[in-house]
Amino acid sequence: MSNDVTQATDKTPVERPETTTGARIYRPLTDIVETEDGVTLMLEMPGVAAEDVDVTLEQRVLTIRGTVRPTQPEKLQLAHAEYGEGDYERAFTLSDDFDPDKIDASVANGVLTVTLPRTAEAKPKKIAVKAS
């Protein structure tokens, strides 16, 4: 079995907060890239549809929640399990120079992409140096 995927971390369940049903909450693996316009977050949330994602920004804390749709093939019993299913939750603290009205989120193939543009005044301005 060959495996070239460079996987640094596994998806791990979070210990807090607990759920009332006892179901697990997982911490989605995240890539964060800073671009010229702002910051892009890519969160891995397999089994979560676009309408089941909840992104909120409150007091600089960006909270991302995803409700999973469990895959249970009909008339079959689980014989071997390597991964667990559960909801996803993760929160990030942001600096206050993001424009909350322009935050954009989209889901494709189980990956949530959140783009956070920086406010216009926070973008670095390039000052041209004139030769005298």
């Binding site: 996987q7 971390t9 693996l29 890539d31 890239v33 390597e82 189980g110 990956v111």
Partner: protein, 142 residues
Amino acid sequence: MLNPYYTRRSDPFALMQSMLRDFDRRIPTRAVQPVFPTVNVWQGDEAVAITAELSGIDPADIDISVKDNVLTLSGERKAPEVPEGARWHRNERGYGKFTRTVRLPFAASDDKVEARMANGVLRIVVGRPEEDKPKKIEIKAT
């Protein structure tokens, strides 16, 4: 050190057990070689299903093949395209090529394999061939 287990002097192994438990918690057990993708296998009388979490992978980049009783799942997860001059803050997700083989409890034929992908979760259902199913033998009255 105030250890709740140590107060139970009646059990001489209590302290050692509690230390071992602390040790286990601090050093998370992980496979030496991480397996990707992780699969769940479901079994029933009529079929076997394999589910795998393959988020961020285009269904066109996944190859599934069945030969006798071995199912091979391979593909590639491409790294996201980032504009020039972008800076990575965090990189927790993995990228690259992968191959995974799963041994099925029966030899399957290609036409009985069905794969579907929804929200980054792949589900492969392999039907059990007629000749493999248990046959009911009727007892004849003499």
